[in-house]
Symmetry: C2
Subunit: 187 residues, 2 copies
Protein backbone atom coordinates (compact mmCIF):
# COMPACT_ATOMS: atom_id res chain seq x y z
CA UNK A 1 0.00 0.00 0.00
CA UNK A 2 1.66 3.22 -1.23
CA UNK A 3 -1.10 5.82 -1.60
CA UNK A 4 -4.19 6.77 0.41
CA UNK A 5 -7.37 5.50 -1.25
CA UNK A 6 -9.20 8.48 0.23
CA UNK A 7 -7.01 11.48 -0.70
CA UNK A 8 -4.11 10.05 -2.74
CA UNK A 9 -1.52 11.14 -0.16
CA UNK A 10 1.57 9.04 0.66
CA UNK A 11 1.11 6.16 3.12
CA UNK A 12 3.40 5.63 6.10
CA UNK A 13 3.51 2.70 8.48
CA UNK A 14 3.05 3.72 12.11
CA UNK A 15 1.27 2.74 15.33
CA UNK A 16 -1.73 5.08 15.75
CA UNK A 17 -2.62 6.57 19.15
CA UNK A 18 -4.63 4.06 21.26
CA UNK A 19 -3.45 1.23 19.02
CA UNK A 20 -0.72 -1.37 19.41
CA UNK A 21 -0.07 -2.43 15.80
CA UNK A 22 1.66 -0.98 12.79
CA UNK A 23 -1.00 0.31 10.38
CA UNK A 24 -1.00 1.93 6.99
CA UNK A 25 -1.73 5.59 7.78
CA UNK A 26 -2.12 8.49 5.35
CA UNK A 27 0.50 11.15 6.09
CA UNK A 28 -1.83 13.80 4.60
CA UNK A 29 -5.40 13.11 5.79
CA UNK A 30 -4.47 10.67 8.65
CA UNK A 31 -6.93 8.00 7.50
CA UNK A 32 -5.98 4.61 8.96
CA UNK A 33 -6.27 1.82 6.38
CA UNK A 34 -6.94 -1.38 8.35
CA UNK A 35 -6.29 -4.77 6.82
CA UNK A 36 -8.18 -7.86 7.96
CA UNK A 37 -8.40 -11.57 7.14
CA UNK A 38 -10.87 -12.72 4.51
CA UNK A 39 -13.50 -15.46 4.62
CA UNK A 40 -13.41 -18.27 2.05
CA UNK A 41 -16.69 -20.19 1.74
CA UNK A 42 -17.46 -23.33 -0.25
CA UNK A 43 -19.41 -26.56 -0.48
CA UNK A 44 -19.03 -30.30 -0.36
CA UNK A 45 -21.79 -30.95 -2.91
CA UNK A 46 -23.13 -34.48 -2.29
CA UNK A 47 -24.75 -36.87 -4.75
CA UNK A 48 -25.47 -40.49 -3.76
CA UNK A 49 -22.26 -41.02 -1.78
CA UNK A 50 -20.12 -39.02 -4.16
CA UNK A 51 -18.90 -35.42 -4.00
CA UNK A 52 -18.09 -32.77 -6.56
CA UNK A 53 -14.49 -31.71 -7.19
CA UNK A 54 -13.25 -28.99 -9.57
CA UNK A 55 -9.94 -28.99 -11.44
CA UNK A 56 -8.52 -25.48 -11.15
CA UNK A 57 -8.04 -23.44 -14.34
CA UNK A 58 -6.20 -20.62 -12.55
CA UNK A 59 -3.30 -20.01 -10.22
CA UNK A 60 -2.58 -20.74 -7.46
CA UNK A 61 -2.48 -24.51 -7.96
CA UNK A 62 -3.75 -24.55 -11.50
CA UNK A 63 -4.43 -28.15 -12.61
CA UNK A 64 -5.11 -29.40 -9.10
CA UNK A 65 -8.44 -30.47 -7.63
CA UNK A 66 -10.47 -28.50 -5.12
CA UNK A 67 -13.90 -28.16 -3.61
CA UNK A 68 -15.78 -25.22 -5.10
CA UNK A 69 -14.98 -22.28 -2.80
CA UNK A 70 -13.95 -18.64 -2.91
CA UNK A 71 -13.88 -15.29 -1.19
CA UNK A 72 -17.07 -14.11 0.50
CA UNK A 73 -18.44 -10.92 -1.10
CA UNK A 74 -19.95 -7.82 0.48
CA UNK A 75 -23.68 -8.06 1.20
CA UNK A 76 -23.93 -11.84 1.46
CA UNK A 77 -24.00 -14.47 4.20
CA UNK A 78 -21.39 -17.21 4.49
CA UNK A 79 -23.97 -19.79 3.35
CA UNK A 80 -24.90 -17.64 0.35
CA UNK A 81 -21.22 -17.29 -0.52
CA UNK A 82 -20.76 -21.09 -0.40
CA UNK A 83 -23.77 -21.69 -2.68
CA UNK A 84 -22.72 -18.92 -5.10
CA UNK A 85 -19.16 -20.23 -5.41
CA UNK A 86 -20.50 -23.71 -6.14
CA UNK A 87 -22.63 -22.26 -8.91
CA UNK A 88 -19.80 -20.11 -10.33
CA UNK A 89 -17.03 -22.71 -10.27
CA UNK A 90 -19.03 -25.83 -11.12
CA UNK A 91 -22.32 -24.53 -12.55
CA UNK A 92 -23.81 -26.73 -9.85
CA UNK A 93 -27.03 -26.10 -7.95
CA UNK A 94 -27.22 -27.25 -4.33
CA UNK A 95 -29.93 -27.38 -1.67
CA UNK A 96 -29.74 -25.88 1.83
CA UNK A 97 -26.11 -25.93 3.02
CA UNK A 98 -25.06 -27.12 6.48
CA UNK A 99 -21.89 -25.72 8.06
CA UNK A 100 -19.27 -28.46 8.38
CA UNK A 101 -15.72 -27.11 8.91
CA UNK A 102 -14.38 -23.75 10.10
CA UNK A 103 -10.61 -23.31 9.78
CA UNK A 104 -8.45 -20.34 10.63
CA UNK A 105 -5.38 -20.03 8.39
CA UNK A 106 -3.23 -17.44 10.20
CA UNK A 107 -0.38 -17.87 7.67
CA UNK A 108 -2.73 -16.90 4.82
CA UNK A 109 -4.97 -14.39 6.64
CA UNK A 110 -8.03 -16.45 5.79
CA UNK A 111 -10.92 -18.20 7.55
CA UNK A 112 -12.36 -21.15 5.62
CA UNK A 113 -16.01 -22.09 6.15
CA UNK A 114 -17.00 -25.23 4.27
CA UNK A 115 -20.58 -26.49 4.05
CA UNK A 116 -22.18 -29.81 3.14
CA UNK A 117 -25.02 -29.40 0.65
CA UNK A 118 -27.06 -31.79 -1.50
CA UNK A 119 -26.38 -31.51 -5.23
CA UNK A 120 -29.77 -30.96 -6.87
CA UNK A 121 -29.06 -32.31 -10.36
CA UNK A 122 -26.26 -33.59 -12.59
CA UNK A 123 -26.20 -30.60 -14.95
CA UNK A 124 -22.87 -29.33 -13.66
CA UNK A 125 -19.99 -28.18 -15.84
CA UNK A 126 -16.74 -26.21 -15.48
CA UNK A 127 -17.12 -22.53 -14.64
CA UNK A 128 -14.57 -19.90 -15.69
CA UNK A 129 -12.10 -20.92 -12.98
CA UNK A 130 -12.29 -24.70 -13.60
CA UNK A 131 -11.24 -26.99 -16.45
CA UNK A 132 -13.14 -30.07 -15.24
CA UNK A 133 -15.83 -30.87 -12.69
CA UNK A 134 -16.34 -34.47 -11.60
CA UNK A 135 -18.05 -36.60 -8.97
CA UNK A 136 -15.66 -38.63 -6.83
CA UNK A 137 -16.46 -41.52 -4.48
CA UNK A 138 -14.63 -42.15 -1.19
CA UNK A 139 -12.15 -44.53 -2.82
CA UNK A 140 -11.23 -42.37 -5.79
CA UNK A 141 -10.40 -38.95 -4.25
CA UNK A 142 -7.19 -37.71 -5.96
CA UNK A 143 -5.35 -37.08 -2.68
CA UNK A 144 -2.00 -36.38 -4.32
CA UNK A 145 -3.50 -33.82 -6.66
CA UNK A 146 -5.56 -31.74 -4.20
CA UNK A 147 -4.97 -28.00 -4.42
CA UNK A 148 -4.88 -26.89 -0.78
CA UNK A 149 -4.36 -28.30 2.75
CA UNK A 150 -7.81 -26.94 3.68
CA UNK A 151 -9.38 -29.21 1.08
CA UNK A 152 -7.29 -32.19 2.19
CA UNK A 153 -8.32 -31.80 5.84
CA UNK A 154 -11.98 -31.05 5.08
CA UNK A 155 -12.19 -34.21 2.93
CA UNK A 156 -10.35 -36.27 5.57
CA UNK A 157 -12.95 -35.26 8.18
CA UNK A 158 -15.73 -35.84 5.69
CA UNK A 159 -14.71 -39.38 4.76
CA UNK A 160 -14.22 -40.32 8.42
CA UNK A 161 -17.73 -39.08 9.19
CA UNK A 162 -19.15 -40.72 6.07
CA UNK A 163 -17.70 -44.05 7.23
CA UNK A 164 -19.25 -43.58 10.68
CA UNK A 165 -22.58 -42.50 9.24
CA UNK A 166 -22.75 -39.23 11.24
CA UNK A 167 -21.40 -35.76 10.52
CA UNK A 168 -20.26 -33.27 13.13
CA UNK A 169 -18.99 -29.73 12.73
CA UNK A 170 -15.27 -29.14 13.25
CA UNK A 171 -13.83 -25.74 14.15
CA UNK A 172 -10.11 -25.16 14.54
CA UNK A 173 -6.88 -23.92 13.04
CA UNK A 174 -4.68 -25.05 10.19
CA UNK A 175 -1.19 -24.82 11.61
CA UNK A 176 2.14 -25.65 9.99
CA UNK A 177 4.70 -27.96 11.58
CA UNK A 178 7.59 -30.07 10.26
CA UNK A 179 5.16 -32.55 8.71
CA UNK A 180 3.19 -29.90 6.82
CA UNK A 181 -0.18 -28.40 7.68
CA UNK A 182 -2.19 -30.00 10.47
CA UNK A 183 -5.85 -29.29 11.32
CA UNK A 184 -5.80 -28.62 15.06
CA UNK A 185 -9.41 -28.91 16.13
CA UNK A 186 -10.52 -26.58 18.93
CA UNK A 187 -12.76 -27.24 21.89
CA UNK B 1 -12.30 4.72 -2.63
CA UNK B 2 -10.92 7.47 -4.88
CA UNK B 3 -7.27 6.67 -5.53
CA UNK B 4 -5.31 3.48 -6.25
CA UNK B 5 -3.35 2.35 -3.18
CA UNK B 6 -0.76 0.86 -5.54
CA UNK B 7 0.01 3.68 -7.99
CA UNK B 8 -2.11 6.65 -6.84
CA UNK B 9 -4.12 6.71 -10.09
CA UNK B 10 -7.85 7.53 -10.17
CA UNK B 11 -10.29 4.71 -9.32
CA UNK B 12 -13.26 3.85 -11.51
CA UNK B 13 -16.09 1.44 -10.79
CA UNK B 14 -16.47 -1.24 -13.46
CA UNK B 15 -17.07 -4.95 -13.93
CA UNK B 16 -13.71 -6.58 -14.77
CA UNK B 17 -13.40 -9.23 -17.50
CA UNK B 18 -14.43 -12.69 -16.14
CA UNK B 19 -16.20 -11.03 -13.22
CA UNK B 20 -19.86 -10.23 -12.57
CA UNK B 21 -19.64 -7.46 -9.95
CA UNK B 22 -18.78 -3.80 -9.90
CA UNK B 23 -15.27 -3.40 -8.49
CA UNK B 24 -12.98 -0.52 -7.69
CA UNK B 25 -10.45 -0.64 -10.55
CA UNK B 26 -7.44 1.63 -11.11
CA UNK B 27 -7.80 3.41 -14.43
CA UNK B 28 -3.99 3.72 -14.66
CA UNK B 29 -2.43 0.40 -13.52
CA UNK B 30 -5.68 -1.71 -13.73
CA UNK B 31 -5.28 -3.13 -10.20
CA UNK B 32 -8.63 -4.44 -8.93
CA UNK B 33 -9.26 -3.45 -5.31
CA UNK B 34 -11.56 -6.11 -3.88
CA UNK B 35 -13.59 -5.47 -0.74
CA UNK B 36 -14.70 -8.28 1.54
CA UNK B 37 -16.61 -8.76 4.81
CA UNK B 38 -14.69 -8.71 8.07
CA UNK B 39 -14.71 -11.17 10.98
CA UNK B 40 -15.60 -9.94 14.47
CA UNK B 41 -14.50 -12.31 17.26
CA UNK B 42 -15.22 -12.14 20.98
CA UNK B 43 -15.89 -14.04 24.19
CA UNK B 44 -18.56 -14.84 26.70
CA UNK B 45 -16.16 -14.90 29.66
CA UNK B 46 -17.74 -17.10 32.37
CA UNK B 47 -17.24 -16.94 36.14
CA UNK B 48 -19.43 -19.05 38.48
CA UNK B 49 -22.67 -18.58 36.55
CA UNK B 50 -21.96 -14.96 35.65
CA UNK B 51 -20.55 -13.40 32.49
CA UNK B 52 -18.46 -10.35 31.73
CA UNK B 53 -19.99 -7.32 29.99
CA UNK B 54 -18.22 -4.11 28.93
CA UNK B 55 -19.75 -0.63 28.78
CA UNK B 56 -18.59 0.95 25.54
CA UNK B 57 -16.44 4.08 25.71
CA UNK B 58 -16.54 4.66 21.95
CA UNK B 59 -18.98 4.98 19.08
CA UNK B 60 -20.95 3.26 17.76
CA UNK B 61 -23.24 2.72 20.76
CA UNK B 62 -21.09 4.49 23.32
CA UNK B 63 -22.51 3.94 26.83
CA UNK B 64 -24.15 0.63 25.95
CA UNK B 65 -23.12 -2.82 27.11
CA UNK B 66 -21.44 -5.43 24.97
CA UNK B 67 -19.46 -8.65 25.11
CA UNK B 68 -15.76 -8.01 24.53
CA UNK B 69 -15.29 -8.44 20.76
CA UNK B 70 -13.64 -6.78 17.81
CA UNK B 71 -12.19 -7.15 14.35
CA UNK B 72 -9.91 -10.10 13.69
CA UNK B 73 -6.36 -8.99 12.80
CA UNK B 74 -3.95 -10.31 10.17
CA UNK B 75 -1.84 -13.27 11.31
CA UNK B 76 -4.16 -14.58 14.02
CA UNK B 77 -6.81 -17.28 14.37
CA UNK B 78 -10.44 -16.53 15.24
CA UNK B 79 -9.92 -18.01 18.73
CA UNK B 80 -6.80 -15.87 19.24
CA UNK B 81 -8.75 -12.79 18.13
CA UNK B 82 -11.51 -13.55 20.66
CA UNK B 83 -9.03 -13.97 23.52
CA UNK B 84 -7.07 -10.85 22.52
CA UNK B 85 -10.20 -8.69 22.33
CA UNK B 86 -11.24 -9.89 25.80
CA UNK B 87 -7.84 -8.86 27.11
CA UNK B 88 -7.86 -5.49 25.32
CA UNK B 89 -11.41 -4.42 26.16
CA UNK B 90 -11.73 -5.86 29.66
CA UNK B 91 -8.14 -6.59 30.75
CA UNK B 92 -9.54 -10.08 31.35
CA UNK B 93 -7.66 -13.34 30.97
CA UNK B 94 -9.62 -16.38 29.78
CA UNK B 95 -8.86 -20.08 29.34
CA UNK B 96 -9.33 -22.13 26.18
CA UNK B 97 -12.24 -20.70 24.18
CA UNK B 98 -15.01 -22.85 22.65
CA UNK B 99 -16.85 -21.62 19.56
CA UNK B 100 -20.48 -20.86 20.41
CA UNK B 101 -22.21 -18.65 17.80
CA UNK B 102 -21.42 -17.81 14.17
CA UNK B 103 -23.57 -15.07 12.65
CA UNK B 104 -23.45 -13.57 9.19
CA UNK B 105 -24.50 -9.90 9.13
CA UNK B 106 -24.97 -9.19 5.41
CA UNK B 107 -26.25 -5.65 6.13
CA UNK B 108 -22.98 -4.82 7.93
CA UNK B 109 -20.54 -6.92 5.88
CA UNK B 110 -19.45 -8.79 9.00
CA UNK B 111 -19.28 -12.35 10.33
CA UNK B 112 -19.47 -12.62 14.11
CA UNK B 113 -17.80 -15.55 15.85
CA UNK B 114 -18.44 -15.62 19.60
CA UNK B 115 -16.73 -18.07 21.95
CA UNK B 116 -17.43 -19.25 25.49
CA UNK B 117 -14.32 -19.14 27.68
CA UNK B 118 -13.66 -19.50 31.42
CA UNK B 119 -12.56 -16.28 33.11
CA UNK B 120 -9.30 -17.11 34.91
CA UNK B 121 -9.34 -14.47 37.64
CA UNK B 122 -11.23 -11.37 38.83
CA UNK B 123 -8.48 -8.87 38.00
CA UNK B 124 -10.42 -7.36 35.10
CA UNK B 125 -10.82 -3.65 34.46
CA UNK B 126 -11.90 -1.33 31.62
CA UNK B 127 -9.61 -1.25 28.59
CA UNK B 128 -9.26 1.80 26.33
CA UNK B 129 -12.60 1.14 24.59
CA UNK B 130 -14.63 0.51 27.78
CA UNK B 131 -15.75 2.68 30.71
CA UNK B 132 -16.88 -0.19 32.96
CA UNK B 133 -16.51 -3.96 33.06
CA UNK B 134 -18.87 -5.99 35.26
CA UNK B 135 -20.04 -9.53 35.90
CA UNK B 136 -23.75 -10.09 35.27
CA UNK B 137 -25.89 -13.03 36.30
CA UNK B 138 -28.77 -14.42 34.20
CA UNK B 139 -31.35 -12.26 35.97
CA UNK B 140 -29.50 -8.96 35.74
CA UNK B 141 -28.45 -8.69 32.07
CA UNK B 142 -29.21 -5.08 30.97
CA UNK B 143 -31.27 -6.14 27.94
CA UNK B 144 -32.48 -2.63 27.13
CA UNK B 145 -28.95 -1.24 27.17
CA UNK B 146 -27.15 -3.81 25.00
CA UNK B 147 -25.09 -2.33 22.18
CA UNK B 148 -25.80 -4.63 19.24
CA UNK B 149 -28.36 -7.22 18.03
CA UNK B 150 -25.51 -9.76 17.78
CA UNK B 151 -24.92 -9.44 21.51
CA UNK B 152 -28.64 -9.68 22.27
CA UNK B 153 -29.05 -12.89 20.27
CA UNK B 154 -25.83 -14.47 21.52
CA UNK B 155 -26.90 -13.85 25.13
CA UNK B 156 -30.43 -15.11 24.44
CA UNK B 157 -29.00 -18.42 23.15
CA UNK B 158 -26.56 -18.53 26.04
CA UNK B 159 -29.16 -18.08 28.77
CA UNK B 160 -31.44 -20.67 27.16
CA UNK B 161 -28.57 -23.16 27.11
CA UNK B 162 -27.49 -22.21 30.63
CA UNK B 163 -31.01 -22.96 31.86
CA UNK B 164 -30.96 -26.34 30.08
CA UNK B 165 -27.48 -27.14 31.35
CA UNK B 166 -26.03 -27.89 27.90
CA UNK B 167 -24.48 -25.62 25.29
CA UNK B 168 -24.62 -26.17 21.53
CA UNK B 169 -23.08 -24.20 18.71
CA UNK B 170 -25.42 -22.04 16.60
CA UNK B 171 -24.55 -20.92 13.08
CA UNK B 172 -26.83 -18.69 11.06
CA UNK B 173 -27.68 -15.22 9.82
CA UNK B 174 -28.83 -12.03 11.48
CA UNK B 175 -31.58 -10.77 9.20
CA UNK B 176 -33.76 -7.69 9.50
CA UNK B 177 -37.55 -7.81 9.36
CA UNK B 178 -40.37 -5.54 10.59
CA UNK B 179 -39.73 -6.58 14.20
CA UNK B 180 -35.99 -5.79 14.07
CA UNK B 181 -33.09 -8.18 13.70
CA UNK B 182 -33.76 -11.91 14.02
CA UNK B 183 -31.17 -14.67 14.35
CA UNK B 184 -32.14 -17.18 11.69
CA UNK B 185 -30.29 -20.33 12.61
CA UNK B 186 -29.11 -22.48 9.71
CA UNK B 187 -29.12 -26.24 9.31
Amino acid sequence: MNYCAQCGGPIVREVPVDDNRLRHVCSTCRTIHYQNPRVVAGCIAEWKGKILLCRRAIEPRSGRWTLPAGFMELGETTAEAAVRETLEEANARVGEPELYTIMSLPHADQVYMMYRAPLLDLNFSPGAESTRVELYGPGTVPWEELAFPTIHHTLTCYLQDLAHGAFRLRAGDLVRDDAGFQFKIGK
